[in-house]
Symmetry: C2
Subunit: 225 residues, 2 copies
Amino acid sequence: MDENVATLHRAVVEHMVRQAVYQRLGKALPSRASAPNPLVVNVSARHCHLTQETVEILFGAGHRLTVHKWLYQEGQFAAKETLTLIGPRSRVISNLRILGPCRSLNQVELSYTDGIALGFDLPLRISGNIKGTLGCMLMGPAGFFEMTEGVIRALRHVHMSPEDATFYGVEAGGEMELKIGGPCGLSLDKMLVRVDNNFKLEVHIDTDEGNACNLQPDTPCELIK
Amino acid sequence: MDENVATLHRAVVEHMVRQAVYQRLGKALPSRASAPNPLVVNVSARHCHLTQETVEILFGAGHRLTVHKWLYQEGQFAAKETLTLIGPRSRVISNLRILGPCRSLNQVELSYTDGIALGFDLPLRISGNIKGTLGCMLMGPAGFFEMTEGVIRALRHVHMSPEDATFYGVEAGGEMELKIGGPCGLSLDKMLVRVDNNFKLEVHIDTDEGNACNLQPDTPCELIK
């Protein structure tokens, strides 16, 4: 679905160019360039996933999410729809972006910075594992929805195909390290590996992690087992 | 000046207990416990340093900063006084804390998260090196002050005494790595080493770095050359 991708990520272009240049020069590819796929690192700003039922409560009966921007993973998108989150201490986050398509559960992913602003003590969870977490109130143009649980800080993770997992020598559920360069570089430990046939190689970190190292499109990143 | 220190940092207590326990047991101290001083890692939230002249413009002639809380470095304090920062796009940060005592220059230290909120493109600088950086408007109860430069993201750094520098085998101006443990641990590269006879061993990171790894008082931290 090429029409879904508005612009190519810089890492994708660099990877293609690197492979082409080494081939032209007749030189052996260095390990990074010989990877089956480019490494894309994206920062996920605060967002939520909703069920279709919740979308209809918040935006009206029969409402469907509309695409604002396609994301790097096939078929995933940032919706035009945003909502207001009201925390347990009545503090508010406006313009919380909804990611589509709808899922089978409601989940809000915030950074610890957001959590401090809201007075939330956020649990660190693998996306989807929300049992026993705090809830919040969501407000849309057509109504309110009380989430009884599902507000988390998502564990940093990397999406990859089985082919990538073989290249890096890792398995689903394992952990990797992401080394990020630049003048305030850092290495993120305990990056959860998620493997699926449909996944494109992509690391998701949150805004705290991205801002700690000032991640930019041209910041060098390396995935280490 | 013991009366300046309201509570002992957990790392200081742990270091004393560790040394006492090993001594009691008659065992050799492991490398970390044999360090001359405990390693304290503190998160610096956004703040500013001001000259006495600027304090008087903002708070009135003859005004002196008053102590809200003593900091870990001898004689340094968070002042009761706070002010309002107005950025170049008229966005505002309220309750910006002033750190005392007064210095010979005005400097505002923000996180990249703050910079994004303000629409500022923050330069990464060693504290004190503010030439050519952006300015802002400061507002206090007695007046406004236009800073023509001095808004930065401070480079992460570690304060230490010459004794600590000898133990770690580093020199002033050098770089170290800080390894932070826990469920979302990370390693911060390029931690600037600052050495002074009066410095207590202390790492300063900002809120983005602290929140990226959810730094808590009991999070294990290790300084590596």
